[in-house]
């Protein structure tokens, strides 16, 4: 499995994209869909290939200033690695 690092640029894998409606967006992929809300949605909206992992973490840290140091990075890493194993996110 590829290593996810600060310099990685996470993006949707081929054949994965947004769907559903503006009120209830889903990520569509072969044979499945996940409803994403809250932080998950914020993270995935940043996974357009333009932001590095470091930049994504930084943006979230600005937004959630009360989160303990390091927690956001760890959470984002786990979330993206899970989606990578499902072949939804590439980096």
């Amino acid at each position: 499995m590829a290593e996810l690092s600060d310099a990685s640029f996470p993006k949707f894998a081929a054949g994965c994209r947004w769907g559903g409606t503006a009120e209830a967006p889903v990520v569509l992929f072969p044979e499945g869909a996940i409803r994403v809300e809250g932080t998950g949605r914020i993270i995935l909206e940043l996974c357009d290939g333009h932001f590095s992992l470091a930049e994504i973490v930084q943006k979230l840290e600005t937004q959630f200033i009360l989160a303990p140091k390091g927690k956001i990075r760890a959470d984002v890493l786990t979330f993206l690695e899970q989606l990578h194993a499902k072949r939804i996110i590439d980096y």
Binding site: A14, G15, L28, P30, E31, A33, R87
Partner: protein
């Protein structure tokens, strides 16, 4: 009532292949009866409004429809995720580019075996070499690519080899699906059902491949239910998640539902999809739990497997309301035990594995029945 999540569009029953495990009904729909493009586009719009997310374009061979690109464009316009389930036969590099341009999200190509002669023997047509070339073209586009292996007694011993060969095509996903015994596969069951020992080895092969390919290829595997303790949650429950429209526009709760006597399938030419989902008698027949006999009715697993498959219950017991005989708790479970025992004694894989297609067909004449083509 929840809304359906996926629409399976069997857009034609015409097909250049004659696979012995085909899940299509034995009575195929002719070209003249097929729905027109405009009907399909309307159905896709209705599906999306009903909450459907995924559209599976299948057949027969969906490429047999000249208006396929138009349908994909219509699906995209209706915000559906489109998946093309195809043999790839007749798909040129140019036509593939057109389908991608129209908005195709995912393509799924089935493979019959790892060696050319044997793969063609199972498909009843020369097709294997073209599929390998097609895989290369697919990877030049940004769409998802699944390779599908249908596993049965005639190829199960080559599973490791098949996985290794298909890995080299760089798919995103590999679907390793044991044949399910409906339609043509049921007709040919005695040549297709693997033995327990074969299945156990295959399960170990798949587990090793999953481990090795983690993060590279997603593997989804389907175990043959004849060897399971409990039945499969067929279609995620009757009338709960899926709708299938056949080439003539009839709406079915699943691929095989046409075998159940007394069901009337409403047609999209006469009703909206929403109306059918809510009101069609065929969808209501086994929805929920009221129809369930014992032991299902009081079983804790009824919310997981919904009593199993209604079509299989009918095909094997003659009663569509019976507990799926696959279940070890089913009163008629012995039907499955007998099948596993009896079918396993029929002759196994031919010894002329490396023989060319025509030699195999000649030597194995009468071994099984190939899927036919719809009547003109």
């Amino acid at each position: 009532m929840a809304n359906p999540l996926a629409l399976i569009a069997e857009i034609t029953h015409r097909c250049p292949l004659h696979c012995v495990y085909c899940s299509n009904p034995l009575e195929l729909t002719s070209r003249q009866e097929e729905l027109a493009t405009a009907d399909w586009l309307r159905v896709f719009g209705e599906a999306s409004a009903l909450g459907v997310l995924h559209l599976h374009l299948t057949g027969g061979e969906p490429l047999a429809r000249a208006d396929l690109a138009e349908m994909i464009a219509g699906a995209r316009k209706s915000r559906l995720y489109s998946n093309l389930i195809t043999s790839g036969i007749g798909l040129s590099r140019e036509r593939l580019a057109q389908l991608v341009e129209a908005g195709l999200d995912h393509i799924q190509i089935s493979f019959q075996d790892s060696s050319e002669g044997q793969a063609n023997w199972i498909a009843g047509a020369r097709s294997h070499a073209h599929k390998l070339e097609l895989a290369g073209w697919i990877r030049s586009h940004r769409i998802a690519f699944t390779v599908n292996l249908v596993v049965h007694r005639q190829n199960i011993e080559h599973l490791e080899e098949m996985i290794a060969a298909l890995e080299g095509l760089h798919p995103d996903r590999m679907e390793i699906a044991h044949a399910q015994y409906y339609g043509w596969a049921l007709q040919n069951r005695s040549a297709l059902l693997p033995t327990r020992a074969q299945l156990d080895r295959a399960v170990a092969v798949v587990a090793a491949a999953e481990e090795r390919l983690r993060g590279k290829v997603r593997i989804d595997s389907v175990i043959p239910d004849y060897h399971a303790r409990y039945p499969k949650a067929c279609m995620g429950g009757w009338g709960r998640q899926l709708m299938l429209i056949d080439p003539a526009g009839r709406a079915l709760p699943c691929h095989a539902a046409g075998v159940i006597p007394g069901l009337h399938f409403d047609n999209v030419r006469e009703h909206t999809l929403d109306w059918i989902w809510q009101n069609s008698g065929a969808f209501q027949k086994f929805r929920g739990e009221d129809w369930m006999p014992e032991p299902c009715r009081s079983c804790d697993r009824r919310k997981e497997d919904f009593g199993g498959c209604r079509c299989q219950a009918f095909l094997l017991t003659g009663d569509a309301s019976a507990t799926d005989p696959v279940c070890e708790l089913a009163p008629l479970h012995h039907l499955i035990e007998d099948a596993v025992r009896e079918d396993a004694v029929t002759s196994s894989a031919p010894e002329f594995r490396e023989a060319p297609f025509h030699v195999l067909q000649e030597k194995m004449a009468g071994f099984w029945s190939y899927r036919t083509d719809p009547k003109r």
